[in-house]
C-alpha cells in the first residue's frame, strides 16, 4: 500500500537516512510516498500536517514528538500501534521515559527514532590551549575560561541568536545551576514557585552573562555557522545538541583530538533528551494500516536504528544495541542515557518541545529570548514574566 510519510528531514545525512528507511519499507512490499517539508525545526511541517488533518486527508505517518503526541491524541486522529508493540515487546526494548512519551492513553501511538542529548558543550581544545584555559565543568569555571578566551582575542561562546538556540543554552544553564530536580519542577511541572524562585533568577543571571562572551554577529545566526566557528578555531565552545557532531565529522575532525564533546558545565550527571518519533494516523484502508505497522517495526529495527543514528549523531532509542560502530561521543551519550535513567536525572528537553505543549514552550521561548536580547529587563522581572507567560499559555 502507499504509505505517505510527512517529515522534515530533507537534506544531507538525514535525507539519506530517510532514504534508507524507504528502502527497508519497500522491501516489505509498500510504496513510500515522500512528503518532506523542511524549515523552522518542523514548524512548516506542523502547519502542513494540520491542514492535511483538517482536510480529512492525513498522511499515514508524520514526524511528531514529545507532548504534542498527547495533543494529537486528544484530537482522536491517531492510530493504535498496540498490536505491533505487543508482538515486538516494545515495553522491554524502550526505556520507560521514552515509552511514556510514545503512548497516549496507555497505548502506543508513536514510534521513536532516536535519542538526542541536548546538554552538550562542544569545545575546540586548540582555542583553550591558546588562551591558556581549561575546559570548565562548572559555571564558575566557565566564566574564568571564557574571560581568558575573550582576553586572547577570540570568541568564547559560538552562539546563534535564534529563540530555540537561546532556549537550548538556557536549559543547559538551568540544569547546570539548579540540577535535575529543579529543572523538572520548572519545565515539566511548570511550578510557578520554581519559575519565580531565587534559583531561577540566579540561572537567568548566569544565562544573560554568557551573552558577553558571544560575538556581534550572533543574532539570527544558524546553529551550524556557530559550530563552524568552533571548528575553525574562531570560538572556544558551543552549547548545542549532539547533532552538531555531524558538522565536525563532515569537516574531517576527530572527537577527542580536534574537538571535545563534554556535558555542559554542571550537568555531567544529567541528560536532557530530545527524541524524534513518528506518529501514525488513523486510516481506513486495511492495507495502509498494515503498512503503518510495518513502518513502525522497521523504524524500531536494529539495522535502521543503527544506520540512522550513525548518520545523525544521536543514539538509538532502543536499549541493548551494540554501539561498536559509534564514535566516542555517542558511546558516552549512550552510557549516560542508561545511567541517568536509573539516577532519575534523565530529563526532557524544554527547548526541543519534550517537556511541555508547544504553547507553553513558545511562551517560555518568548520570555527567555526577550530577556536574553534585552539589556533593560532584570532577571527578577524575567522570572515574573515567565510565570505569567506560562500561565497564559495554559488555556
Amino acid at each position: 500500500a502507499e504509505i505517505e510519510v510527512l517529515h522534515y528531514w530533507t537534506s544531507g545525512g538525514e535525507a539519506k537516512s530517510v532514504a534508507e528507511l524507504k528502502k527497508m519499507l519497500e522491501a516489505k512490499g509498500h510504496d513510500w510516498k515522500d512528503f518532506a517539508v523542511a524549515g523552522g525545526g518542523g514548524e512548516s511541517a506542523m502547519t502542513v500536517l494540520k491542514t492535511r488533518v483538517v482536510s480529512g486527508n492525513p498522511p499515514a505517518a508524520a514526524q511528531i514528538k514529545g507532548p504534542s503526541i498527547q495533543e494529537w491524541g486528544d484530537e482522536g486522529v491517531l492510530a493504535n500501534l498496540s498490536a505491533v508493540a505487543q508482538a515486538e515487546g516494545w515495553d522491554d526494548l524502550l526505556p520507560g521515559v521514552v515509552a511514556d512519551v510514545m503512548k497516549y492513553d496507555g497505548k502506543y501511538v508513536a514510534v521513536p527514532v532516536n535519542v538526542h542529548r541536548v546538554n552538550w558543550m562542544w569545545v575546540n581544545p586548540e582555542v583553550f590551549k591558546k588562551a591558556g584555559a581549561n575546559v570548565p565543568t562548572t559555571w564558575k569555571e566557565f566564566f574564568v575560561a571564557a574571560d581568558k578566551i575573550k582576553a586572547a582575542g577570540m570568541t568564547a561562546v559560538a552562539h546563534g541568536g535564534q529563540p530555540w538556540q537561546d532556549a537550548t543554552m538556557f536549559e543547559s544553564v538551568v540544569l547546570g545551576v539548579a540540577g535535575a530536580e529543579f529543572y523538572k519542577q520548572a519545565f515539566v511541572e511548570l511550578d510557578p514557585e520554581a519559575l519565580n524562585s531565587p534559583t531561577m533568577i540566579d540561572a537567568l543571571k548566569t544565562f544573560h552573562k554568557i551573552k558577553n562572551y558571544t560575538d556581534a554577529g550572533s543574532p539570527g545566526r544558524d546553529w551550524n555557522l556557530a559550530t563552524a566557528m568552533v571548528i575553525n578555531g574562531e570560538a572556544g565552545m558551543q552549547f548545542m545538541g549532539d547533532w552538531a557532531k555531524g558538522e565536525f565529522t563532515a569537516a574531517g575532525k576527530v572527537p577527542g583530538k580536534d574537538y571535545i564533546c563534554t556535558a555542559a558545565p554542571g550537568t555531567s550527571g544529567d541528560f536532557t533528551f530530545n527524541i524524534d518519533s513518528f506518529v501514525m494516523f488513523n486510516l481506513e484502508d486495511k492495507e495502509q494500516r498494515k503498512g503503518q505497522n510495518d513502518l513502525a517495526s522497521t523504524i524500531l529495527s536494529v539495522p535502521f536504528q543503527e544506520v540512522f543514528n550513525l548518520n545523525k549523531g544521536s543514539i538509538p532509542a532502543r536499549l541493548n544495541m551494540s554501539m561498536d560502530k559509534f564514535d566516542d561521543c555517542a558511546k558516552l551519550s549512550a552510557k549516560d542515557f542508561v545511567k541517568t535513567a536509573k539516577a532519575n536525572t534523565l530529563v526532557p528537553s524544554m527547548a526541543h518541545g519534550m517537556s511541555t505543549f508547544s504553547s507553553t514552550q513558545g511562551a517560555i521561548y518568548d520570555t527567555v529570548t526577550e530577556f536574553y536580547n534585552s539589556d533593560s529587563i532584570s532577571a527578577e522581572e524575567a522570572a515574573e514574566k515567565l510565570v505569567k507567560a506560562v500561565a497564559a499559555a495554559k488555556y
Partner: protein, 281 residues
C-alpha cells in the same frame, strides 16, 4: 553633458548597483566552492568559475528522500503556474469586461467587495480552505492548488482589467452590438485583441505571485507534485549536516530564473501596460 546629467546618471547607477547586490552575492557565491565561501568575503570574486553547484542543485541535491535536485519540481511549478495564470487572467478579463461594459445594479458594490478581498491575510484561510479542498476531493492535488491560486488571484486580475477596460470607449461595444455581435463575440473579437498590454501586466503579476508562492504550495500540494519553492526550501533547510551555500544559492537562482526572465523580457510591456490603464485607479 551638463553637471546635472552627470549627477542623475551617477545616482541612477549607484542605486542600480545597490539593487543588484543581493543577486550578485548569490551569483558569486554559487560559483565558489565551500572553502572559498568560508574564507572569502561576500563580494570577493571566485578564483575559478565552478558550475558544480549548479549541476548539483539542478540534478542531484536532496530535497527529501529523492536526490534528484530541482529539475522535477521545476516542471511541477510550470504545471501549476500555467493553468492558474491562464484561468485567473481569463476570469479577471471577463469580470473586468462585465464590470465596465455590462454594468448591472450592484456591480460597483461587487467590485468593492472583491477589492477588500485582496487584503485578507492568507494565514486566515489556510485551514478552512483545507477543509473545503478535502470536501471537494481536491486535497493534496495539483488541481486543488491551482484552484486556490485562481481564487486568491482573481481580485487582482479583476482590478487590473477593470481599470483598463474603463478607458475603452463603450461605443466600441455598442458598435459591435449593432453589427450583430453578442456578449461572447464582442469579448473575443473586440475586447481581447486590444487587451494585450493589460494581459501582459496581469500575467506578469500572477506569474510571479504564483511561481514565488510558498505557503499555498507547501500546504496544499503533496509529495511529488510540490512546486519548486517547496523543494528549494527543503533543499536549503538542513537541520543537521553541512549547509552547502553554493548549492543553496544556485538552487535559489534556478528557482527564480523564470520570474527573472519574465521581468527582463516583458518588463517593458509591464510599464507600458501600467501606463495604458492600470494607473488610472
Amino acid at each position: 553633458m551638463s553637471i546635472n546629467r552627470v549627477l542623475i546618471y551617477s545616482i541612477l547607477s549607484f542605486v542600480a548597483l545597490i539593487y543588484l547586490m543581493p543577486l550578485v552575492v548569490m551569483l558569486i557565491t554559487s560559483l565558489k566552492d565551500l572553502d572559498e565561501i568560508r574564507s572569502g568575503t561576500l563580494l570577493s570574486l571566485p578564483q575559478s568559475l565552478n558550475f558544480d553547484a549548479w549541476g548539483k542543485a539542478w540534478g542531484t541535491a536532496c530535497t527529501g528522500v529523492s536526490c534528484e535536485g530541482l529539475k522535477g519540481y521545476f516542471w511541477n511549478s510550470v504545471l501549476i503556474v500555467v493553468p492558474a495564470v491562464a484561468i485567473s487572467t481569463v476570469l479577471g478579463a471577463l469580470n473586468g469586461y462585465v464590470l465596465t461594459k455590462w454594468k448591472f445594479k450592484g456591480s460597483d458594490l461587487f467590485f468593492g467587495m472583491l477589492l477588500i478581498g485582496t487584503m485578507i491575510p492568507f494565514q486566515v484561510i489556510l485551514l478552512p480552505m483545507a477543509r473545503t479542498l478535502g470536501f471537494l476531493g481536491l486535497s493534496g492535488t495539483t488541481s486543488g492548488l491551482i484552484m486556490v491560486h485562481v481564487i486568491y488571484g482573481l481580485a487582482f486580475t479583476t482590478l487590473f482589467f477593470r481599470n483598463y477596460y474603463i478607458s475603452i470607449p463603450n461605443e466600441l461595444v455598442n458598435a459591435a452590438r449593432i453589427d450583430g455581435a453578442g456578449f461572447w463575440l464582442i469579448f473575443w473579437r473586440i475586447i481581447i485583441p486590444v487587451s494585450i498590454p493589460i494581459i501582459v501586466v496581469s500575467v506578469i503579476w500572477q506569474f510571479t505571485q504564483i511561481w514565488n508562492d510558498f505557503l499555498f504550495g507547501v500546504v496544499y500540494s503533496s509529495g511529488d507534485s510540490q512546486p519548486i519553492t517547496v523543494a528549494l526550501n527543503n533543499l536549503v533547510n538542513t537541520s543537521t549536516g553541512i549547509k552547502e551555500y553554493n548549492v543553496d544559492m544556485a538552487a535559489a537562482i534556478i528557482a527564480a530564473l523564470p520570474t527573472l526572465l519574465v521581468y527582463v523580457v516583458a518588463g517593458k510591456y509591464f510599464v507600458k501596460g501600467l501606463t495604458a490603464g492600470a494607473v488610472k485607479g
